[in-house]
Amino acid sequence: MEWLFFALFALVALVGSAGVVLSRNAVHSALFLLLNFVAIALLYILLGAQFLAMAQIMVYAGAVVVLFIFVVMLIGNDTIDDFVARERPVLRVIAGILVAVFAAALVYVSFWAPNGRPNGAPTFGAVESVGELLFTRYLLPFELASVILLAAMIGAIILAARTKPPVGRPED
């Protein structure tokens, strides 16, 4: 029974990722990405990692893709089409490199990497284990990531603050 669900969700994830790259419309791409994220979240649930699944939906579906769509809505579709059309040769080279890298990764994972469920299966993906790992083994990357995010946030605030403050009631 489990493999049936796995096959289903994996297929959906694949269709989703194919849709991301194949659709010409940026919002459609983002929607396919959403589909992909949801499918992957479901795969996490199959693995018993409910917390990861929820985090996946909350962070990626609830925030990241929303922001993608928000940006696309703000700048409009046309600009993206122009961008693609104009810079196609460069993009092809970059895309080629990326495809090569990912293909190599895929081949490595499929044939040489350790397979199956990670060890410590019962607590895998539970809140406690994730929290513990984050604050012990992966403390440095965790802190680095937060510093980078903080820097990005400050940068965004500075960029945004350049525009006029909203009129209406003067600031208290």
């Binding site: 909350m58 769509i69 809505m73």
Partner: protein, 334 residues
């Protein structure tokens, strides 16, 4: 395989809950119109059936038999997908709300909730955050300046208010020590914990109003500015889905609030008559819905930029402060 436990019971339970939920939604529209009418010293709908009880049916029939129009300038797949994307999260949210304690039926113990996930609180937040899509995509796919403005407002609003809401919920998790909604309801709390919880309730309620797009934060629609915002190009059945989702969202959020802050199904004599729990929960939800409508009758709408400023400059610091104090309380008192 335990077909009974795995398939039949959840399906039957789901069907019953769905039916109840949809009926409740239909009557919530009547409840709101009646109540709003009384707040405005008028009667509200009273022509369809006794006391207007058939009004939801009349509305439904009207909306079902309307011509289905798809304007030629819309992005058709997304345009059609958007109403569903609002409906599904609103429905899914209710799955983790425990309706009452377990009942014994046909020699089985049946918990009165769809699923008892141990990360239910996170589930609520996650599903709530997905609810943005319907509105946002509806606004974008309609290809209309007004709906686009509505969609942009909504997405910004929902993202902003999810943060303080999430932080309040985190405080709650700290206080309860669990992420399972069933356990949050069932475990006892010391009196100071209740008091502290209720102190934070008004602010949490504000974030809930913003998340459900209720007045005074009803920006996506803002009939006075953006006419109907994201719904402007929708009519008939598709509009009905938006309409139902909105009210469904109110009920499910009411259920979540009642569960998290007011002890869910708990009340006197529940241990002897488990089904009484459902009644208590319904009453608590009703009280919260009353509050929703009361606020709507009483205050003007906040302006969009002020809403954002309030969210980021007042609610977010407040929720952080609340979280900090909760942590201290938990460490020293629990």
């Amino acid at each position: 395989m335990d077909w009974m436990g795995l398939l039949v019971i959840p399906v039957v339970k789901g069907a019953i809950i769905l039916l109840l939920l949809l009926t409740a939604t239909a009557y919530l529209t009547l409840f709101e119109r009646k109540l709003l009418g009384r707040f405005q010293v008028r009667l509200g709908p009273n022509r369809a059936g006794p006391y207007g009880l058939l009004q939801p049916l009349a509305d439904a029939v009207k909306l079902f038999f309307k011509e289905e129009v798809v304007p030629h300038h819309v992005d058709k797949p997304v345009y059609l997908l958007a109403p569903l994307l609002t409906l599904v999260p609103a429905l899914a949210l209710f799955a983790v709300v425990p309706l009452g304690p377990s009942v014994h039926l046909f020699g089985r113990e049946i918990p009165l909730s769809m699923g008892d996930v141990n990360v239910a609180v996170l589930y609520i937040l996650a599903i709530g955050s997905v609810g943005t899509y319907g509105v946002m995509l509806a606004g974008w796919a309609s290809n209309n300046n007004y709906s686009l403005l509505g969609a942009m407002r909504t997405s910004a609003q929902m993202i902003s208010y999810e943060l303080p809401m999430g932080l309040f919920v985190v405080s709650l998790i700290l206080l309860s020590g669990t992420m399972s909604v069933t356990q949050i309801v069932e475990q006892g709390r010391p009196w100071w914990a209740w008091l502290w919880l209720w102190l934070g309730f008004p602010f949490f309620f504000i974030t809930v109003l913003a998340e459900t797009n209720r007045s005074p934060f009803d920006f996506p629609e803002t009939e006075n500015e953006l006419i109907a915002g994201y719904q402007i190009e929708y009519g008939g059945f598709k509009f009905a889905i938006f309409y139902v989702s909105e009210y469904l969202h109110m009920i499910t959020t009411g259920g979540v609030v009642a569960t998290l802050f007011f002890g869910g199904w708990k009340g006197p004599f529940v241990d002897r008559f488990p089904l009484l729990g459902v009644v208590y929960l319904a009453l608590k939800i009703l009280a919260i819905l009353f509050l929703f409508i009361w606020v709507r009758a009483s205050v003007p709408r906040v302006r969009y930029d002020q809403l954002m400023r309030f969210g980021w400059k007042v609610l977010l610091p407040l929720s952080l402060l609340y979280l900090g104090i909760t942590a201290l309380l938990v460490v020293f008192l629990l």
